[in-house]
Symmetry: D3
Subunit: 341 residues, 6 copies
């Protein structure tokens, strides 16, 4: 029987000025819906997996629209709570060259942010799940959601549900101290851990990366040491995965990935990329990794598949990685780019 | 010397699906900025008057954009406070035929809504004002803003600044009981009062209109009685103005206006209209009325000018009445519609 | 337990020049997906009902997109077949005033048109259905689909599934003689029949309407006679419903409805309408009628509800009637058009 | 053999704010190309006639684009001169309801405006023409173009080419005194004359219309008298045609036409119209009239055809009447508006 | 006298999601018209040459629009047949970085695909032609069109019309075996042959390229051998031309060209390019080559001009190479990119 | 007290085809307003400085729109003259790869171009200025404006106002001989001089650059010699600044800057850039330089800040550099490109 994944987090309305415009000069916004864990669910569904998403949406047209987006791409939305004041929003100013992409959050007071831990009945919500996925953004939203996550992972450990935690540190949402305090509580329950770039230090207090985004790949050995430190500290965590990047400008970067699984390292090749939109690629990577677990990939296939999924996301506009498994496999094979006609 | 107007309220980001679309089917939003009192300031400025606007905007790109919109049209923005959590938003689904226009507010927790009464230093803010204008939306936002308005109007009365209050009742923001409680406190300081349709009953507890929007103009005598009741109750209020409407559908309506000024009634003619966008016409009317005071119009000219400004707004997209005095006068003269080339 | 509806037909890509443009002058097309029976399913789903849709989509990105649209709005898409050459397309040139809306079909050779009767395994497809809905467009597509429909309705009669047939005559797809030949075969199995305007004559050979679209409502008695003739001829048909229209121009028309149910006539009031897009209102009417059956409305409530749903569709762009039951009921009560804020 | 028409005038770049926007609020313009005589040529070509257009375009990309537009719709562009400083531009702010459409000309100093009479070698240009068409806009552009027109019509009279003059008075381009002075010179050569509304008085000094655009049709007799005065004054002018309008608002008007041909009057029926864009309908009327001459219509068919072409233009965006003869005939027959599918 | 070119093939409606979107996420399509041989005709016309295009378009608005596009750019369209079921369509999903551009064909059953060989009366169609140009796409459409091409080239050989054949192998349309079978029949009549990349092997069975698109230029010697093999096999073929490419990603590639003419090789320089849209550059190259023949360029000028035309196409959106001869020459001289103001 | 800058020049309507389109294929234009000196004023205002702009705008809606743009971004517009025939326009075809950006001027006969020197009352206009800024475009517009500039700079020298002259040579507006003749007159009054690339030779007759835009940075020593020649010739000129570029294609270039201030050279680092829109970066550089003077930066900080401002402009669409001082400083520190969320 097909295994099932439940992801838990916040999906927001994303408003992006048209083309390359800045907010100051734009009189329209492209509207899309996204959020780390929702992105993972959509990716899985488009790759043929069974993925449910859990959040809380307001009972208004914005909540309906976010819900409709998930349904359109086949995500199971039956567990989603409705109610509360509003849908979170984020404004997305796409960067160019030396001007980095700029995110203006308007997520305070959202239905998800105001939800209490008690609203989530994990017995029922996790009843049919094989994997439970959340990112560090969810606990960063509120103390109640930290509690909700902790209750969920306890349930998972007791019921043999694999827990996947993507650190995904957001400096605009909480401090490293807060993130580390939470990680300390949750990591004993985590089986699979994703940490990129600054996540090691900010979310785990492990120094693996010197902070220079132009030279991530060059620090592979240091990342490996950090990954080993994670599994040493938290024996329940059998897998750690990281994307390594050399980011030269908004458009120009190199990407590769490392996977430490059951004590063995696997490395992907390095992609030289022209980035269309550098958002949500970590979520695409996480979904690729899960897809590998769901279908019994070995470690090398898993890391190769996950990084291929991730770099494909860099070519797509919006938070959702609108690609299929054959498209990902085509990148794995030939690096893509040929015209198909 | 040119007289000066200060208006006080909340300006929001308005997000409207493109063309006729519903939120559920739209993947972009037209972005504009509007709010009752801001609209009045912009109207006055475009008609050549000196108008300042007072609000509180967040210190982010959305706040900058709202501010830029006001400056573009010549409004004095130097008094505006900056800070606080966010810019209020409203989603605007334009109706058609039998489907009424639908507004989804997302204004809770805005910088203006979270402002305290103490932040507004009226001594300085009203130092150079001749008129102070606010609508019922401002006190509906929060008790602190009710207090701010009451402090302001006391100052006005003490310093001979004319107070203009547009009832503008919003059922999604407060109850009639709350509105009436506030009106009781503020009306003794009000010199000019605007009340349309349901405002009489909801905001003042005066029964002037039976609630049938298809037959507003037919109830002219009842409105007159209501207006007279206002000036009887509140002797400081020398002027009451109302728009009367027969609304047959979103596109099709008739508009006229009544003015009770210094004990005498003035009536405009009735316009038969094809409505492009039925929003903010009351603000356009209020601005037209103020323009009449600023330039010494007699009562008949004032009501004719104000209703012409108001019906022009029905032909313009967005909250702002982007017309000049000559354009308004051209409507007064010939009812418009001829091509000018 | 909630009753279930299965609708059967073709959903196409609809390409419409932007705004009011003609194909000759347009360098972009708005893309949407629609088709009579798909429209009915979406309407039902948005009104809270359980509706499944049956068609055949190609296994390409266009088929995926059509499928995603159905899923977005909650339609059960699990029965849909995949395969075949292409998705049907229709170009939609919206008319204005005296220029009628123009449809250019490009549906020949579609996956649905090339499907054989044998591909539809009705035992399984209708296993959980309480209602089976199709329009005259489906049998007009091909003889194989005529056969498929006939097989389906036989199954329905044998298994107590209500059969609903919306005549929906399309002169660009088949001749009256062909339509009537099919009707003769299918009508003995039909329980609910929808026929508007020319349908009576073209699809049934019953003269109920003189063809003057500007004077449909004026011929109410003649329509009633036609409806009675239907139930007399086909005793299994317990319900006949018709929309009656006076169409003065593309934008300006009057709409009302007649319902003959279990021997009794019910009439709606007449709506005076400004039409935004005059397409798929018959489907909205059909969905409203079904919703009435599903929820046990009496005849008067049913016809009032169905025509309100239908006229709401005239205010919406695209084939899909994106409205909820409360919105429909609001039209029934007050005729709509008030701004809600 | 098919008869040939040469039209002579200025085609400009037309820039229109998107949708309903005013210039002040628009950050994009729809670009199209139009001009009275160019519009006539395109209309004729789309109706199957042989029409050439004469103007002068600059040798730059704007000139190429205007030329390409004409070619796209089949107009013979071989006679067009190239060179000079710039392409004329006009900004088009579409009105709504009481707000009339506003035209901002930016045509001074254009290649056509700077052309000298000597540049037009009429011997060659008119060698194969059967009809020569110009509007009052052409001589209003410059004294040199007045001279060019006068030289051309002399050639026409000498070579049996029918001269058609559409008065088309533009108050923003010249004064009535200037227009009348020109008319006095040119009318002795004119065979067919079109005059609408104010044209009689402004361009000919004949009082036929009181200037109230809401009551043009009501003054039919006065128009008839004016038309008779024209043919009396100018015996070479065997045909006079006029559009009569009651314009109630930008969207709402009634249109009909009068034709005086060879001493007999013909009247069209009156159309009740919802106007999408009220520009260039006079040109569509002129083209319809010419089409009638080219194909030997009798007077009644000619006026019926021309007014049907004209009211169809009111449903089309842009200056060009993108309709075919069958579409025009369909309006003549049933007043249009039925959906064709 | 100016020489004349006739090109023969299929022009389709091209539908492209806006900006970078995938079909799954796009609610509009940019509409353009293109097809290999039509592209060649437009290129030639914009470079000042006389080019006619032969195809069959349906007698509907889509056919009219395709025709209008050709006319707009000056192509002689008088030979085009009208009739048949539909205009072919192709959906164009522009790739990015590692995601290759994706083409979804919807061209089956088009008017051109259903045309019979007998419909093309080559005596008349080729009467005034000096060059006859077709690509391998045309015979791939149907056996009837293979026959039509064979009949045409026989006529050409008999009447001294130069035959130009651009291999243009399309794996989605026919197999290498089918392509080679056709090539064997047609090559004895071909005078000028264009073959790029895989064409040598797929269409001619000559191994010149190992299939690695990242290393085309590096295999120059192998290409030269293949080109010599062509002229050896087919003595009537005096000219073979090839584009050689190193394609690193959708945006990033190097282009150069080889020409074997009358036994001598000519090589262009290598361009380092940022690709905006990598479609139809082969057609632009073919047009450049023809332009060289039409104007008597020597071999070096010809290959330099053709590759410059080709790389300019990479900077243009749509199938049509909207550039002039001076613009192409400016690239030849300085490699372009300076701002011109 | 904050120092004040007055800039003097022409602001035009800029019309750009949407996305990458050429004028020939575009049916809409993005509308923005820009001009070298206006751009400088907007930059300064967004960086918190007090900047006024002087020009002459027509008294129409286009003039109002240009004015509104300046006000939106905080520029003091009170000195601007109104009147005259028209607003200048320029069409902007954005290039790609080897195809350079193409500008089509339509600025002849503008209100600014027709202004006389006598209209500018410098006593009043410069009364409160500390810096006067103009580019070589202003005197290139007309001899009257040359005179106006010369009168202004005399006033400046007499009143201790710093004169800044950005050479900004435009070959489409005047010849090198004309530019040099003007420079000879104006340079004795200039205190700060900006000269890039060809400016040295074209505007000053100093050979500093060999014209190869792909190798500007490589000629640093030659530029230094040119800069020293300037201060030697014109002792009042204490500062000369230059941008040095290696431009490889429209998207790909390297930028750096040189500053000679009070006898000492300062060099910036070299930026490797992906250019979004390569226009108005010189103006952004000039504004950065002025900002440095206004805030007492030393030479190194000044050149670093100015080049950072300049390269940020390359990432922004439109003529206006919509960035703040913190954003510029962030580029100075880390070269930008990190996502901020």
């Amino acid at each position: 029987m097909m295994k099932k994944v439940l992801t838990f987090g916040e999906m927001m309305l994303r408003l992006k000025p048209s083309e390359n415009k800045r907010i100051l000069q734009s009189d329209s916004f492209e509207a899309a819906y996204g959020g780390a864990e929702a992105n993972v669910s959509v990716s899985l569904s488009l790759q043929g997996d069974q993925a449910a998403y859990l959040t809380k949406f307001p009972s208004n047209l914005l909540g309906d629209s976010a819900l409709g987006t998930l349904r359109k791409f086949g995500v199971d939305t039956h567990k989603i709570l409705r109610g509360g004041p509003r849908l979170g929003i984020y404004f997305f100013e796409k960067g160019a060259s030396v001007r980095g992409t700029n995110v203006v959050y308007d997520r305070a007071g959202s239905s998800f942010a105001m939800a209490t831990a008690a609203e989530f009945d994990w017995d029922s919500l996790l009843a049919d799940a094989d994997y439970f996925y959340f990112s560090g953004i969810t606990p960063a939203v509120s103390p109640e959601l930290q509690q909700a996550v902790l209750t969920a992972v306890e349930y998972c450990q007791a019921h043999n549900i694999t827990v996947v935690y993507d650190m995904n540190f957001r400096g605009k949402m909480w401090t490293p101290a807060e993130a580390q305090a939470f990680s300390e509580k949750v990591m004993p329950y985590v089986n699979v851990c994703l940490a990129n770039d600054e996540d090691f230090e900010a979310s785990l207090g492990i120094k693996a990366f010197d902070g220079d985004m132009a030279h991530g790949i060059d620090q592979k050995e240091s990342f490996k040491a950090g990954m080993q430190e994670v599994v040493k500290r938290y024996p329940n965590c059998h897998t750690v995965a990281s994307i390594l990047r050399n980011i030269h400008s908004v458009e120009d970067s190199q990407w590769s990935a490392l996977l430490l699984r059951d004590g063995q390292f696997y490395e992907s090749s390095v992609y030289q990329l022209h980035v269309y939109e550098g958002v949500a690629s970590g979520d695409a990577f996480g979904a690729g990794l899960l897809h590998g677990f769901l279908h019994g990939f070995d470690g090398q296939e898993q890391v190769d598949y996950a990084i291929a999924a991730s770099v494909l996301k860099l070519t797509i506009s919006g938070d959702l990685n609108l690609v299929s498994e054959p498209e990902i496999r085509s990148i794995m094979k030939n690096g893509g780019s040929a015209m198909n006609r």
